[in-house]
């Protein structure tokens, strides 16, 4: 059982998983391990995870962020409508990060990023981004949110 005592309180709660009909298990597992090592509580849903499963897990565990992996190029389709569903489920200010191989073919990264941000994804990462980049940004985003809430 997770230890929730003050001394060991996690930095935050993150739901991880590979979205859609994607079975690439390794990157997500490494990311989950890195998050745990950085002091986060991780709820790892594994592969073949639907939007609903991400949302259910986030509501039940009161998560701060979703870390969504996608390696097969269909992330854009798989993430469509996720932000709206989160709001519907009461997850008003959950952070959503997406990473992996999120787009097919040779596309300008800035264009890809723009499309994801327009969908309400907070951050999207190009291929081969090391986990620590996402984790540092998560820490920064959570701290900023804490400040803005006073």
């Amino acid at each position: 059982m997770a230890d929730e005592s003050v001394a060991n309180a996690p930095k935050g709660r993150v739901v991880t998983g590979v979205i859609g009909a994607d079975v690439h298990v390794v990157g997500n597992r490494l990311l989950a391990m890195a998050l745990e090592r950085a002091g986060f509580k991780v709820i790892n849903l594994g592969v073949l995870v639907s939007q609903e499963e991400f949302i259910n897990a986030a509501v039940e565990s009161n998560a701060d962020a979703l870390f969504i992996s996608s390696l097969y190029g269909h992330a854009e389709l798989d993430c469509e409508g996720l932000r709206e569903k989160c709001i519907e489920a009461g997850l008003d200010d959950i952070l959503i990060y997406v990473g992996g191989n999120v787009a097919l073919g040779k596309q300008e990264w800035s264009e890809v990023e723009k499309r994801f941000l327009a969908m309400g994804i907070d951050r999207v990462f190009p291929p081969r981004t090391p986990p620590k980049v996402g984790i540092e940004l998560l820490e920064r985003d959570l701290a900023a949110r804490k400040r803005s809430k006073g």
């Binding site: 059982m1 997770a2 929730e4 996690p10 709660r13 739901v15 009909a21 994607d22 079975v23 509580k41 709820i43 849903l45 592969v47 073949l48 609903e52 499963e53 259910n56 897990a57 509501v59 039940e60 565990s61 009161n62 998560a63 097969y72 190029g73 269909h74």
Partner: protein, 459 residues
């Protein structure tokens, strides 16, 4: 030495006397259950036995009872997300032998509270949130219950971090509260035993008193609700004891007048390689109850769910008066078929109830198409390799058609995604031994196991 084991049912009180040294049934008898004074019915059943078999006090090692009288153990469960804590709390209650009369999710509304009050639960199981997770829902629901007309004791098995506050809210409004471990401490992790133990404690300390069943405690110790005893027997028969091996993975179907229960004792993990197992983890001993499938009260809903064509196929002829027959069965609940034609219809109803109930109990295999080809995803238990299917209930005790009914539980090539047993051996509970054996297992598990093995007849 003898053990006296009583199953105090809603209509009949059945007493089974077991010779402990021989692990055999020495005598059985039944008498109508007397809710006004439960000892009258118990006494009548024991009297009927004593006419054939003397029961000197020094020969009686112990007397134990289980009960489903006075409405059984009625429970309402409350959780947060339907696929997570709501499902976990429902499983906890079913595994504790309850009749789950209502299942609620998210934050309770005034209409929900009215509905819960109308359901007259004996216990409310309040869950929601993983440990350290969502607190809002369970705190809201505790406050809602505290100001509602619902007076039932509350078992709290939700977010551990919120438990103290939940308990305080409920206690300050005069509710009896039992706090125990979270049914889902982490997303996807099932922890239902502590809640089940708490439910049993409330049942023993409060419910049997509230229902006037505690008078039986003077003679018999009531230990558990009857369905719990059957689930215990199922698990014992599968797993065995240190002295006696079990039979391995098995499924028990209990066809009653109002419900059809399915119990499985198996871990249910995928039997084929390369299958991704998703959804909540499955309890090894799992009970599901189909409240719409029973061969008396609920015969009309079997027809409704299955449809006339399917039921007629099971009967073997096109029965013109099917609607009339099922509505008469639901009115005349102690009806026993008097001719072959009526029995055939009874057997067809039971078989159809078993087909549907087992279909809902077992897991499914679905194919997901990915860019890398097809992936098989399993939800629920794979019971294709279960070694035994066992039938209990009146249809198995009173007719010779047990095999035909049990065949309804088998794998169907027309419906290959339903992970039912493919080639199990089949057994029937002729002498109504399951509940008694589950009780006996509390004191003498090996004797109970031998008793089961001897008395469940191959068909």
């Amino acid at each position: 030495m003898l053990a006296l084991l009583a199953d105090i049912g809603s209509t009949f009180t059945k007493v089974t006397v077991v010779d402990l040294a021989r692990a055999e049934v020495a005598a059985t008898a039944q008498a109508p259950t007397t809710v006004e004074d439960i000892n009258l019915g118990l006494g009548a059943a024991i009297h009927a036995i004593e006419e054939r078999l003397p029961l000197p006090a020094e020969q009686v090692a112990f007397r134990l009872a289980c009960s489903s009288a006075a409405g059984g153990l009625r429970m309402v469960t409350v959780g947060l997300i339907p696929a997570l804590t709501v499902e976990a709390s429902k499983r906890a209650a079913l595994g504790a032998g309850a009749k789950v009369v209502g299942v609620f999710s998210h934050e309770l509304t005034d209409a929900d509270l009215d509905a819960i009050a109308g359901l007259k639960p004996d216990i409310v199981l309040l869950t929601g949130g993983t440990d350290g997770g969502n607190e809002r829902a369970i705190l809201h629901n505790a406050a809602a219950l505290a100001r509602s007309r619902v007076r039932a004791p509350v078992v709290v098995a939700g977010n551990r971090v919120a438990s103290d506050r939940v308990c305080a809210i409920l206690q300050s409004s005069g509710r009896e509260v039992w706090v125990t471990e979270n049914v889902m401490p982490e997303v996807g992790e099932l922890n239902i035993r502590p809640a089940q133990e708490a439910i049993r404690e409330v049942f023993l300390k409060r419910i049997i008193v509230a229902k006037g069943l505690d008078k039986a405690q003077e003679t018999f110790g009531i230990l558990m609700p009857t369905p719990t005893a059957v689930l215990r027997a199922t698990e014992l028969l599968a797993v065995g004891t240190d002295d006696e091996p079990g039979l391995g993975d098995l499924v028990v179907v209990d066809v009653g007048g109002a419900t059809t229960d399915v119990h499985s004792a198996a871990d249910g993990r995928p039997t084929k390689p390369g299958v991704v197992w998703k959804g909540l983890p499955e309890p090894f001993a799992k009970r599901t109850v189909e409240g719409d499938l029973g061969i008396r009260y609920n015969a009309p809903t079997i027809l409704e769910v299955a449809g006339k064509a399917r039921l007629c196929r099971a009967i073997g002829w096109d029965e013109p008066d099917l609607h009339g027959i099922v509505s008469r069965l639901s009115a005349e609940v102690d009806y026993v078929p008097r001719d072959a034609r009526a029995e055939t219809i009874d057997v067809a109803l039971a078989r159809t109830a078993v087909e549907i109930a087992v279909d809902r109990h077992v897991g499914t295999l679905t194919v997901v198409y990915t860019p890398f080809g097809e992936m098989a995803v399993q939800y629920g238990k794979d019971l294709t390799e279960a070694r035994y299917v066992i039938g209990t209930g009146g249809i198995f005790a009173h007719t010779q058609a047990g095999r035909k009914v049990l065949e309804g539980a088998l794998f169907d090539p027309q419906n290959p995604t339903s992970l039912r047993p493919v080639h199990p051996e089949m057994r029937v509970d002729k002498p109504y031994i399951m509940a008694a054996a589950g009780l006996l297992a509390e004191r003498e598990p090996t004797v109970a196991l031998r008793l089961l093995k001897r008395n469940l007849a191959p068909v």
